[in-house]
Structure formats: structure tokens, C-alpha cells
């Protein structure tokens, strides 16, 4: 089983590395967006109650979540391509354990996502962001990032297994992007003056993922933010894994 998981994970990593766009954009685009947003929104740090005097520190949480969204798309699209091109059918003729397929795919997503996360951290440190939770905080941040990657990767896999279409998986991207933008991505929730937006951001699980990551960077150890961040990530991951497992079962029966 371990060998099977490793084989699938390695294949996922290698095929990602062979597509320069799949490596470059998940790293470069979130960082470019962070730079542009932080440049333009720096005056927000002068608002009374803004939690830090560096918008870069505030914004550094966003690439972690946005990078996870890209990882979701890549994993889902790759799996959909496997289904479309018949590789998935051929795989079913082998003694491969179905769980190994899912775990291997998610393993590949996590490996690539963690490389991205380390790059985001490195860029953050290079531009002078202070990491208030210290070295142990980095470990906790990577643990949270891993949980988020598994959850989002499972969402991508679910879409791929249900639809068997790369285009359908790509179509999910704008919806996930909406979740990212209608969150506390650019402003703390208590500083959002528009009621409906603040309510939407409060109901949006992405806000808690962002705030969990952000708390480690700008606050230090904030038990509530971390509990909510890990709690929401665990709930999303559990629900997504259940959905992915069911979809895998259905897909295997269908083929």
C-alpha cells in the first residue's frame, strides 16, 4: 500500500514538474497579487485598530490559501485528464488499492504545496516580514498549510471524479476565487464597515483559514484564531475526503 501511494504521489509530482506553467503560476501569481495589493493597500495600516503596521505581513497569509487553490486545480485537472485519456480505466485493471490512488494524488499535492509554502515564507522573510510566532510557529503554519492542501486537493479530486472533465474542474476556479475575495483577505473583519460584506466574510470558512495563518505571522500565538483555523481546515478536509471517497467509489463502479 505504501509503495502504491508513493508511486502515485511521485507520478503526480513529476507530471507537475514537467508542466512549467503548473509550477510557475501557483508560485508567481499569488506573490505578484500580494505585492500589488500590499503596495496599494498600505495606507490601510493607518486605520485605527489595524493589527499591524506592515501590510505585507498582513497580506502574506493570502498566498498560502491562493496557492492551495491552484494546487486544487492542478490535482483535479490532472486526475480528470487521467479519466479522459483512459489511464484511470487501465489503472483499475491493476491490483492498485483505490485508497492508494486518492492518497497518492493528495500526497503529490501536499508535496508541491509545501514547496510553494516554503517559497512564500522565504519571500516574506526576504521582504522584512517578522514572524511573531517564531520557529515553532513556522512548523505550525506548515502543518495548517498541509491540512488545507489535503482539503482543497480532495475538493479538486471530487470534482474530477464526479465530472471526469478538466474543463469542469477549471470552472470551479472562479467559484473558489469568489470565496477568497469575499473574506477577510484584504481587511480585518472588524474593520469592514459594510454590514452584508462583514456577515458574508464571517460566514466564509476561508476567512478563518486566512486568520489562522495570519495570526502566526502578525500576532504570535493566538489560541482562538488557531483553533478556528485548524477546526475549519479539519472540517473542510474531512467533508472533502468523504466526498472524494464516495466519488471514487462511484467512478470505479461506473468504469
Amino acid at each position: 500500500m505504501t509503495l502504491q501511494i508513493w508511486s502515485i504521489a511521485r507520478r503526480q509530482i513529476v507530471r507537475t514538474l514537467r508542466q512549467p506553467a503548473a509550477v510557475f503560476f501557483p508560485v508567481a501569481f499569488p506573490l505578484a497579487l500580494m505585492a500589488v495589493n500590499a503596495g496599494g493597500l498600505t495606507p490601510a495600516t493607518r486605520l485605527p485598530g489595524f493589527p499591524t503596521d506592515s501590510f505585507y505581513a498582513f497580506a502574506l497569509a493570502v498566498p498560502f490559501i491562493q496557492g492551495s487553490l491552484f494546487a486544487t486545480m492542478n490535482a483535479g485537472t490532472d486526475l480528470a485528464r487521467d479519466i479522459q485519456e483512459g489511464f484511470f480505466n487501465r489503472l483499475q485493471l491493476t491490483p492498485l488499492n483505490p485508497a492508494a490512488l486518492l492518497l497518492g494524488l493528495l500526497g503529490g499535492v501536499v508535496a508541491m504545496g509545501l514547496v510553494q509554502a516554503v517559497i512564500y515564507l522565504g519571500v516574506g522573510l526576504a521582504i522584512g516580514v517578522e514572524f511573531h510566532a517564531g520557529a515553532l510557529g513556522v512548523v505550525v503554519l506548515l502543518a495548517l498549510a498541509t491540512l488545507i492542501l489535503i482539503g482543497f486537493g480532495a475538493i479538486g479530486a471530487t470534482m474530477a471524479l464526479r465530472t471526469g472533465s478538466g474543463e469542469a474542474v477549471q470552472g470551479l476556479f472562479p467559484a473558489l476565487f469568489v470565496f477568497l475575495f469575499i473574506s477577510s483577505m484584504n481587511m480585518p473583519r472588524d474593520l469592514i464597515p459594510i454590514d452584508w460584506f462583514r456577515i458574508a466574510a464571517t460566514a466564509n470558512p476561508i476567512s478563518y483559514l486566512l486568520e489562522g495563518v495570519r495570526s502566526l505571522i502578525i500576532t504570535g500565538w493566538d489560541g482562538q484564531a488557531l483553533a478556528l483555523g485548524f477546526g475549519v481546515a479539519a472540517a473542510v478536509t474531512a467533508a472533502a475526503l468523504v466526498a472524494a471517497t464516495r466519488s471514487l467509489r462511484t467512478r470505479m463502479e461506473r468504469t
Binding site: A32, V36, N37, G39, G40, L41, T42, P43, A44, R46, L47, P174, V178, F181, I182, M185, N186, M187, L191, I192, P193, I194, W196, F197, A201
Partner: protein
């Protein structure tokens, strides 16, 4: 001239029919500007309380101008995707052979992009007014704002057409899109230019999109400022990209529209 117009009419009609018959082409160009408007005007309204933020008509109006100009530029880019698709499917080759005046092809695509953006502009304006946007400008000021956005729309379509006619593949999408995206976001999107600092202020100061935004916002507020400069920059870009598009057309002709 008559034959050019006939070609333009045929091309524009076909593009618009395709767009309006195909929700996957129409919906994103309508929804994305509304989404950006919602996310920016709603989520970032708090920044209007930052010291030195002096736009008189509120943050909704401040962001409306950005999203209006962004939608204008991107309607052009979306039409460029359609041109690339026409080349990939071989339709453009037949079009080049059949058209007695090939300049009419460019004109047709541009007309289609204008009509397409006009729909977005109407929808965005209605939503913004429904959301309580304050308008300080009079009719002439607003005419100026939409005229400026129209020039940005034309510049966008000519830029994307030039790329599409040179590369002739859908994979050219990021080449059409990314420079427009970056140019727009390296302008004072969230706060006035005077509140920007550091590297982004240096870039925003020389960015032509800054002139469009600042002039557009001043027109909406009813206090026109550097409008002639913005129109000059938009016309200059339009002329430059018209040459770019025409040379792209020649490039496609030389390549036999393969």
C-alpha cells in the same frame, strides 16, 4: 469604404451572435466586473477612512470607475480570445480569403467588443446605482467618463487583436491578459495616487492607467482634473495599438492564416 463596412458588419454580427448564444462566453464577461466591484467596494470600504483619503463621493464611486475601466479593457481582451479561437478553428483563414477589405475584419471585431462592453457598462452602472453610488458629476462629466472608458475599450481590443493575429492560438490568452491586468493593478486601484508610497507610487505615476483612473474619478465626482491628459493618453494608446493590430493582420496574411 462600403465594402469595408460590409465586412465589419458581418464580422461583428457573427461575434455578437456567438457571444450571446453561448453563456460560457457571455457570463464571465458580465459576472467578473460585478464580482470585482462587490469585493472591492464592499470589502475595502474601510480604507476610505484612512487619513488623507479625500474622494468626496464615497468608496463605491471610487471603485466604480476602476471596475468600469477594467471591464472596458477586458471586454477587448475577451474579444481577442474569440479571434484566437477563430484562427485555431480555421475560420479566420476563410475570413481572410473571403473579405474584400481585410481592414473591415479588424473594424468588425472592434465593433463587437464595443457592443459587448456597452452591455457590461449598463449592467455595472445599474448595480452601482442600486448599491447607493453617489454621483457628483453632471451629464457632460459622465459622458466624458464613458467616452474615456470607450477609448480604453478600443485600445484593449486593438492590443488583444494584435496578439491574437500574431500568435493565432488560444494559448496566447495569458499574453493578451497579463499585461493588461498588471498595468491596471499598478495604478491607484484602492486609494488615490497621493496616498501611495514607495515603488508602487513610482510605477503608478508613470502608468497611463493612472491618468485614466484619476481623470475618470474626477469626472464622476464633478471636479474634472487632467481630463485632456487622460484622453490624450487613451488616444495615443489607441493609435499605437491600431498600428500593432494592423501589423498583426499583415502578419496573419503573410502566414496564410495557418
Amino acid at each position: 469604404m462600403t465594402r469595408t463596412l460590409a465586412v465589419a458588419e458581418g464580422v461583428a454580427w457573427r461575434v455578437l451572435r456567438n457571444v450571446f448564444k453561448n453563456p460560457s462566453l457571455l457570463v464571465p464577461s458580465l459576472v467578473f466586473p460585478l464580482f470585482f466591484f462587490t469585493a472591492f467596494a464592499g470589502g475595502l470600504a474601510g480604507i476610505s477612512r484612512a487619513p488623507g483619503f479625500d474622494f468626496p463621493d464615497g468608496y463605491t464611486a471610487f471603485q466604480f470607475v476602476f471596475v468600469l475601466l477594467q471591464s472596458a479593457a477586458f471586454s477587448g481582451v475577451f474579444t481577442g480570445f474569440g479571434i484566437a479561437r477563430d484562427f485555431e478553428r480555421g475560420f479566420a483563414k476563410r475570413l481572410l480569403i473571403a473579405a474584400p477589405r481585410r481592414g473591415g475584419i479588424l473594424l468588425g471585431y472592434a465593433l463587437a467588443a464595443i457592443v459587448r462592453w456597452a452591455l457590461v457598462a449598463v449592467l455595472l452602472t445599474v448595480v452601482a446605482l442600486a448599491a447607493g453610488m453617489e454621483v457628483g458629476g453632471n451629464g457632460v462629466d459622465l459622458f466624458g467618463l464613458y467616452a474615456l472608458a470607450l477609448l480604453v475599450n478600443v485600445a484593449g481590443i486593438l492590443w488583444a487583436t494584435g496578439v491574437a493575429m500574431r500568435l493565432r492560438t488560444m494559448q496566447a490568452g495569458p499574453v493578451m491578459q497579463f499585461p493588461v491586468f498588471i498595468t491596471l493593478f499598478l495604478a491607484p486601484v484602492y486609494v488615490p495616487l497621493s496616498l501611495l508610497t514607495g515603488w508602487i507610487k513610482a510605477l503608478a505615476t508613470v502608468n497611463p492607467a493612472t491618468r485614466f483612473l484619476e481623470a475618470g474619478r474626477s469626472l464622476l465626482a464633478g471636479a474634472p482634473h487632467e481630463v485632456a491628459l487622460a484622453f490624450g493618453a487613451a488616444l495615443g494608446l489607441g493609435l499605437l495599438f491600431a498600428l500593432w493590430a494592423l501589423r498583426g493582420l499583415r502578419s496573419a496574411e503573410r502566414a496564410g492564416a495557418a
